[in-house]
Structure formats: structure tokens, C-alpha cells
């Protein structure tokens, strides 16, 4: 019985997995964090699956869980920094780059994405304030309607529209800056 429920839940989630992954990538700084967030969120969603009453889309309900999980993780991470991280990071600063592999790491977005175009878009999205970033993601990348985005983010449709417009303008500017930086790197100039 329970196995059937889990299998049904996984089947329902399967089709939404790419969208949810991109949602997590847009919130997080790197792929590892995004995949941890997705895992934590889906486990939480599964454990509380009875609380989905069918009001609004299942994807929207899952996005709400991802956002809450993200906020909790950030708060928890902020509280943790001075304990285990300070021990490990303190050691790491003394050890130089040894503990992080000793080689210069590429930016997190490049490591998170499968193509340079994707990485540039993700960098541009990360340059936006979160209130614009998620609206732009859901409207422009996921091509959801304003009503659904408003339902997912829990805000009035008018607010979604205005944030989309401002966010789109900021995304254009941020992406243009990424292009210019990329161009400068290719031609040997510095940013």
C-alpha cells in the first residue's frame, strides 16, 4: 500500500523533475546545493503529501515546499557557520587550496550547467534580486501564465506582471554584461 503511494508520488514528480531542478538551481549557488535542496524538498513533500488538497497545481505546491526548505536551509546554514564550518574553513584557510582540490575552480554556475549558454543565463538570473529572479524563471523559462505564477509565489497577478517587466529588463542588462565579459575574456581583455 505504502509502496504504491511512493511509486505514485514518484511518477507524479517525475515529469516535474526538470522544472523543479531548474527552480532549485535558480535559488542555489551551485549544483550540489541545488540537488540537496531538491532531495530534501521531495522527501518533505512525500512525508506531507496528504496536505496537498488539490488547490492550485501540484507543481506550485512543490515549489512552495522548495522555497520553504531553501529558506530553512539558509537560516540553518547561517546558524551553523560559526561551528563546524569555522573549524573546517579555518583549517582550509591555513591549508590554502589543498582541501578544495588545489586547482582554481570554475564559477559555480559553469559547474552547475551543461552548456556555457545555460551557465551565462544562470549567472544573469543570479544577478537579479530573488523577487524578480523567480518570476522571470517561471514566466520566461518555464513559460507559465501569470495566474499560475501568482498562485505559486503567493502574490497578486498585478505584482507578478510588474515584477516580470522589471525583472525582464534587469535580466537583459545582466545578460548583456555577461556577454561583454565573455567577449573580453575571449579577446584577452580583463573584465
Amino acid at each position: 500500500m505504502s509502496g504504491n503511494e511512493r511509486a505514485r508520488f514518484e511518477a507524479e514528480v517525475e515529469a516535474l523533475m526538470p522544472r523543479l531542478h531548474r527552480f532549485c538551481l535558480t535559488l542555489c549557488k551551485d549544483r550540489e546545493e541545488a540537488e540537496d535542496l531538491l532531495q530534501d524538498s521531495l522527501v518533505r513533500a512525500y512525508l506531507h503529501r496528504d496536505s496537498y488538497q488539490g488547490h492550485g497545481s501540484f507543481f506550485g505546491w512543490l515549489c512552495g515546499i522548495v522555497r520553504n526548505q531553501f529558506i530553512e536551509s539558509r537560516r540553518s546554514a547561517a546558524r551553523r557557520r560559526s561551528l563546524l564550518d569555522s573549524v573546517l574553513e579555518g583549517a582550509s584557510s591555513v591549508l590554502g587550496s589543498l582541501f578544495t582540490g588545489g586547482v582554481e575552480q570554475s564559477d559555480p554556475e559553469s559547474r552547475a550547467c551543461q552548456s556555457e549558454e545555460s551557465a551565462m543565463l544562470l549567472r544573469a538570473l543570479h544577478a537579479l534580486p530573488e523577487k524578480y529572479r523567480l518570476v522571470v524563471l517561471l514566466c520566461d523559462v518555464e513559460e507559465l501564465g501569470y495566474e499560475e505564477v501568482a498562485s505559486i509565489l503567493g502574490m497578486p497577478v498585478g505584482t507578478v506582471k510588474s515584477r516580470h517587466s522589471r525583472g525582464r529588463a534587469q535580466l537583459g542588462t545582466a545578460f548583456q554584461a555577461e556577454l561583454e565579459q565573455e567577449c573580453a575574456v575571449r579577446t584577452g581583455g580583463g573584465p
Binding site: S2, G3, E5, R6, F9, E10, M17, P18, H21, R22, L25, R31, E32, E35, D36, L38, Q39, D40, L42, V43, Y46, L47, S76, R79, R80, L83, L84, V87, L88, G90, A91, V94, L95, G96, S97, L98, F99, T100, G101, G102, V103, C113, Q114, S115, E117, S118, M120, L121, A124, D140, V141, Y146, K161, H164, S165, R168, L171, G172, F175, L179
Partner: protein
């Protein structure tokens, strides 16, 4: 979004539109999908998820130009961490650093009293001997009070807000045992563990859902 609405929006550069198309092909890795599947199975069964494959070891550091310069600092840092570094001219003896993906467990507590959960840590991946462990727990657990019996070297390092950091030694290699944690009341508990032997440091995170 209607065409009218689209025309009222600021236009995006053509390259950005291509990038959006490319971004739409981003998907979670197969490894992540496997982990999610395992975590859901574990949540369903109330057991620990199967161990994910360990993260690949870093190997590129040997080529680092700053590597030799960092060697002196390594000694100092290793002393701080309580681990040692062999400098007999064999680079392969230096510490490797690995962070494993988070794992979820659940435990059913008795109506009265407390329950135990075993964290399936990877301390057996160190060579036979002892590993130095740093472990961060929720402060409310009073971990240092309840676990000194089976972790004789357990020391409370510090507490801040609602988290406490502990240090102890534990057997590593084939004689390693799962890490037993005592839980008194239902809730969601997060544990971060870092264990180090002479040539390896492994960081792990466990999330435990405890209920009646």
C-alpha cells in the same frame, strides 16, 4: 502570457533567448535521481537510504603551482585539525577532502523514553585505526551528556545558538561501527560530521525525522 502582454515587455537580447532555450534542457543528474529515489524509499520504509557513491576524490591539486609553497602551511593546519601529513616526498600521502551528499533517515520513538538511530557514516573508509571526529548536533539533544558512555573521548567543543560542536575519536576501517545517536522527542534533527584520518577527511550530513 498573451502576445499582447509579450509585446509590452522589455525585449530580451537574441542571445538571451538562445540561452533560455539551452537552460530549459537542464535536468538533475542521474546520480541525483538515484539519491532522490533512495531517499524516498528510505522515508517510506523508515530506514536509512542506501549509501550514495562517494564523491570523486580531488586529484588535480598535485599540479598546483602554489602546492609546494602551501606545504609549510599544511603542517600548521594539520595540527589545528588534529590530523597528520606525511611529507616523505610522496604526494599521494596528503589529505584528500570529500563531502558526501546529505542522507535522510527516520526513526520511530517509543511513546515514553528515547530511541536510538544509527547514522550510516563512512568512517569505515579510513584505514584501520582511529579517526578524529568533529560532530555538530542540535544543542537541545545534550549530545555530550548522553553519549559519553559509548564515546569515551567525547568532548564538547562549543555551542552557539541552537547548535553544538563536539570532538571525539572513533575506530575506523573494518572495525568501525555505525554512529549511534539517542533521540528523546519527535522532530527533525540535522547532524554534520567530519572525520579525518592521516590521509583523508570526509564530511557528511544526516537529516533524521523522528516520530512516534
Amino acid at each position: 502570457m498573451s502576445k499582447d502582454e509579450e509585446t509590452q515587455l522589455p525585449p530580451l537580447p537574441e542571445e538571451a533567448r538562445f540561452a533560455i532555450q539551452a537552460f530549459r534542457s537542464e535536468r538533475p543528474s542521474q546520480q541525483a535521481r538515484f539519491r532522490i529515489h533512495a531517499a524516498l524509499q528510505a522515508a517510506e520504509a523508515g530506514q536509512s537510504a542506501p549509501r550514495p557513491p562517494p564523491a570523486p576524490k580531488h586529484s588535480g591539486w598535485r599540479a598546483s603551482a602554489g602546492f609546494r609553497v602551501a606545504m609549510g602551511a599544511v603542517l600548521t593546519g594539520a595540527l589545528m585539525l588534529g590530523v597528520t601529513v606525511n611529507l616523505d616526498g610522496d604526494d599521494s600521502q596528503l589529505i584528500s577532502h570529500e563531502s558526501l551528499p546529505a542522507r535522510h533517515l527516520s526513526v520511530q520513538l517509543p511513546k515514553e523514553g528515547f530511541g536510538w538511530v544509527e547514522l550510516p557514516w563512512n568512517i569505515d573508509e579510513h584505514p584501520e585505526g582511529k579517526a578524529v571526529v568533529h560532530m555538530e548536533t542540535p544543542a537541545e539533544m545534550n549530545f555530550h551528556e548522553h553519549h559519553a558512555g559509548h564515546l569515551p573521548s567525547l568532548q564538547l567543543v562549543s555551542c552557539e545558538a541552537d547548535r553544538c560542536l563536539h570532538q571525539f575519536e572513533a575506530p575506523s576501517g573494518p572495525s568501525a561501527q555505525p554512529l549511534r545517536v539517542r533521540i528523546h522527542k519527535p522532530g527533525r534533527y540535522e547532524f554534520r560530521v567530519s572525520h579525518a584520518s592521516d590521509d583523508r577527511q570526509i564530511n557528511e550530513r544526516f537529516v533524521v525525522d523522528a516520530g512516534h
